[in-house]
């Protein structure tokens, strides 16, 4: 399972000088009230690989989308070669020499590699397939990208498709190449080859920006690391001088306690969730139980198997037999007999998508997960549901306090309160909360936390979060997940727990 990255025996070439190819100056981007990027300053040099390290939602993609011309900054500007530039679309950026390899490939499946690379760049009305193939083969060889230019895209692996995307940028002579989480789709072998290609490109004077949340990769690959947290540059480090991965992890996730809440542990009651030897779907031998009145936090850097765990528990994905028991029933039996009340409630990360219907009002969104008491055979009693929705709006202080408001008109905090109100109304016995306070302001976070602690009266809570503080404030125990395995189960009461979580998140187990 453990994969060794190629060792980095390289010193970035000096011949390209110390003049930044691109400078981001005070770049700020807001989406509504959320500040995605807060006065970012960053210099990118030719011939060097700059890694942008940060959690999901830290603002990495927003920042690079501004550089690639997809978004316009609200404040600040971009300088290329000392001159201020402004892009109105990605074509402008491409012409200025900035290209981005997105996670989602922009390739025409039925066409060949050569046709895709040269699409829109053929240079003449009549084209000669053989000559196109030769042209593409030439660049591929220059940069050590192994690919058959005559192959059709639909025959290629993900790694090969990525190479085609890279070739597209190289053919357009892009000088700054941005890679958005490029290894997410690659096998370890392909990752190694990608790294070698990236080094080769840097040696030829290209600037590489590598976006990732995977520590080892970044340390193995980059010449410079910039850490992004909550939309700000937290700091820049030289990978050669990194003393501990744990320290890097902590800087990425953040450690300062922003908010505190009073929590008195409750006497745990009956078991509500048991996960037993759960292996598969990217998970490995996961074991834990949650009892009534208890909060268990699963923390980890995003992408370490949290999603599979949640989806399996919430019935979105089928786990192997006899691995998950909810309310003391086997998974299959529990979901076969699922009821509206006294059941399982899921509070997803994706509030305006998985949790709610954005173009429907609050009454419809309430009815989404419970119809008990509001239905007579096939008929819905909307009037009764509306009265109840009004009640909940008042009780949870949802604004605007109108049942006719559409989900999309609510702010993140109010939407989360709506989801909580709906789910708590069902009086669940198990609550699965995924990043419940992500993107919320302080007061909304406090409100959500308060509710999650109150709910222990009736249920057990599985809290999956990347926010260490949230875990420490709410949970009785913290399970640290890394590459699909629970590396440690730490009681929050212990004094040394906060210090032990960071190293475990970075994969340093404590044998």
């Amino acid at each position: 399972m453990d994969h060794k990255f190629p060792t980095r025996d390289r010193t970035p070439a000096d011949q390209f000088g110390n003049v930044p190819a691109v400078r981001l100056v005070n770049l700020t981007k807001r989406f509504g009230k959320v500040i995605a990027n807060d006065s970012i300053n960053l210099d990118i040099y030719p011939g060097r690989i700059k890694a942008l390290l940060g959690e999901n939602g830290a603002g990495k993609s927003t920042m690079m989308s501004m550089l690639a011309g997809r978004y316009k900054p609200d404040e600040g500007f971009i300088e290329i070669g000392g001159k201020e530039v402004s892009f109105s679309n990605s074509k402008d950026a491409l012409e200025a020499g900035i290209g981005m390899v997105y996670q989602h490939f922009m390739l025409v499946e039925s066409m060949t590699v050569a046709e895709n690379v040269l699409l829109g760049q053929e240079g003449s009305f009549f084209v000669n397939p053989r000559e196109m193939v030769e042209r593409v083969r030439g660049i591929a060889e220059d940069f050590g990208l192994d690919i058959d230019p005559e192959a059709r895209i639909c025959e290629l692996s993900m790694g090969e498709k990525q190479r085609v995307e890279i070739l597209k940028l190289l053919y357009r002579e892009s000088q700054i190449l941005i890679f958005d989480e490029p290894t997410a789709v690659l096998t370890p072998e392909e990752t190694t080859r990608l790294f070698e290609a990236l080094w080769k490109m840097a040696d030829q004077g290209k600037s590489i920006v590598f976006i990732s949340h995977k520590l080892e990769e970044v340390i193995a690959l980059a010449d410079e690391i910039a850490i992004l947290r909550r939309g700000k540059i937290e700091g820049e480090v030289d990978p050669a001088s990194i003393e501990s991965k744990a320290d890097l992890a902590r800087r990425m996730v953040g450690k300062e306690v922003l908010l505190e809440i009073d929590r008195t542990p409750m006497e745990p009651g009956e078991e509500v969730l048991r996960v037993e030897n759960l292996t598969g779907m990217g998970l490995e031998d996961v074991n834990f139980t949650i009892r009534h009145g208890e909060v268990l936090a699963v923390v980890g850097v995003a992408g370490n198997g949290q999603k599979a765990l949640i989806e399996a528990i919430c019935g979105l994905r089928k786990p192997p037999r006899d691995t998950i028991f909810i309310n003391r029933k086997p998974w299959r039996k529990f979901f076969a007999e699922s009821t509206w009340k006294r059941s399982l409630s899921y509070i997803p990360e994706d509030r305006l998508g998985l949790a709610t219907l954005k173009n429907h009002n609050l009454v419809d969104n309430l009815l989404l997960t419970t119809r008990k008491g509001f239905a007579f055979g096939p008929w819905l009693d909307k009037k009764k549901a509306a009265t109840k929705a009004q009640d909940l709006i008042e009780k949870f202080d949802i604004r605007p306090p109108k049942i006719t408001a559409l989900a999309s008109q609510l702010s993140g905090g109010n939407l989360q309160k709506t989801v909580l109100a709906r789910e708590l109304f069902r009086e669940p016995v198990l609550i699965v909360a995924e990043q419940p306070s992500q993107g919320l302001d302080v007061s909304a976070t406090e409100e959500v936390w308060k509710r999650l602690l109150e709910v222990r009266e009736m249920a057990g809570v599985l809290l999956v979060t990347g926010d260490l503080n949230e875990a420490l404030q709410l949970a009785d125990r913290v399970a640290v997940i890394y590459r699909g395995r629970i590396l440690g189960m730490l009681p929050v009461g212990d004094e040394d727990t906060p210090g032990r979580i960071g190293p475990l998140m970075a994969g340093l187990s404590e044998e």
Binding site: S90, M106, E109, E115, L119, G120, Q121, F126, V127
Partner: protein
């Protein structure tokens, strides 16, 4: 035997020609990602426009071009609805057929039974002297000879020109085409327009060469056959030729059978070419690689943001 087969095959080529034009037209449109079910309506209007133009000016060639332009204008209507207004392609295409057929009947009734100068058959120099093949392929009107060149041009355009590649990319994955700096909206209008022109030529053939007289219901479902043949052809011009001549062959055969005074009911015989097309389509679909269709066929390009 040869005296029976050769005229039948020659009639096959003639019956297949209008369907060939229409099939290639629809194929061109679909290559760009737009499904146009209005072929039947476009053919009707084009047949009428061609007839009236030839009748008024006395020039069959002007009539032929007018048919193409009429098809292109009808197709542009479909383009505006689907490409600019993001309307549903199926609904718009069906509406276009209803509009075209209805309009033709409304405008064409006064001309029923009238004759216009059309295209006459002539032996193509040299080539018509080839034994057997010369009689089958090279003793037709000029439009048949035009129809021989178009599949080759079609193939060349999509394989050997950057514009053809751009249209293919637009039909497969318009977002990728846009990312490569192309303009998918314009490319789709181009595909719809050129495709409409070719369909229009098929319509013009019906009134100027197939018959020289005007009558109602001239297209007689050939537009629908063209839509089906595009699927049969796996979006390849070579197979479109096979499909069109297959339809033409059965059409010619049943006409001859009717003329020979058989007892079989004529309505049953008339049905034959259409029924056969459906059967062939079903078999090719079984054998088929469903992945041959342009991936973005029938889906509109939603503006970003």
């Amino acid at each position: 035997m040869t005296e029976l087969i050769v005229p039948l095959l020659a009639a096959t080529v003639q019956s297949g020609t209008p369907v060939l034009f229409a099939t290639l037209g629809e194929m061109f449109t679909e290559k760009g990602g737009i499904l146009n079910l209005g072929v039947e309506g476009m053919m009707s209007v084009a047949a009428f426009a061609a007839f009236v133009t030839a009748y008024m000016t006395g020039s069959p060639w002007l009539g032929f071009i007018a048919g193409g332009i009429a098809g292109m204008l009808m197709a542009t209507l479909h383009g505006i609805v689907c490409i600019s207004c993001l309307g549903n392609q199926v609904v718009s295409g069906l509406a276009l057929t209803i509009l075209g057929v209805g309009l033709t009947k409304f405008l064409g009734t006064p001309y029923i039974g009238m004759a216009a100068p059309g295209f006459d058959k002539f032996a193509f120099p040299l080539l018509s002297d080839i034994p057997v093949l010369g009689n089958i392929f090279f003793r037709h009107d000029a439009l048949v000879y035009v129809s021989f060149i178009i599949p080759v041009l079609f193939w060349f355009f999509f394989r050997r020109t950057s514009l053809g590649m751009a249209i293919t990319a637009t039909g497969e994955y318009p977002q990728a085409a846009a990312a490569a700096g192309l303009k998918p909206v314009r490319l789709r209008y181009l595909a719809v327009g050129v495709g409409g022109f070719l369909v229009g030529l098929g319509g013009a053939y019906l009134s100027l060469a197939y018959t020289h007289l005007w009558t109602n219901g001239l297209s007689g479902g050939r537009g629908w056959i063209a839509v089906a043949l595009v699927i049969f052809a796996f979006w390849r011009p070579g197979r479109a030729v096979i499909g069109a001549y297959l339809f033409g062959g059965v059409m010619a055969f049943q006409l001859r059978l009717q003329a020979s005074g058989t007892n079989l009911p004529s309505s049953l015989l008339l049905m034959l070419p259409y029924a056969l097309t459906i059967i062939v389509l079903v078999f090719s679909a079984f054998r088929g690689r469903g992945t041959e269709a342009p991936a973005a066929l029938g889906t509109n390009i939603e503006p970003e943001g």
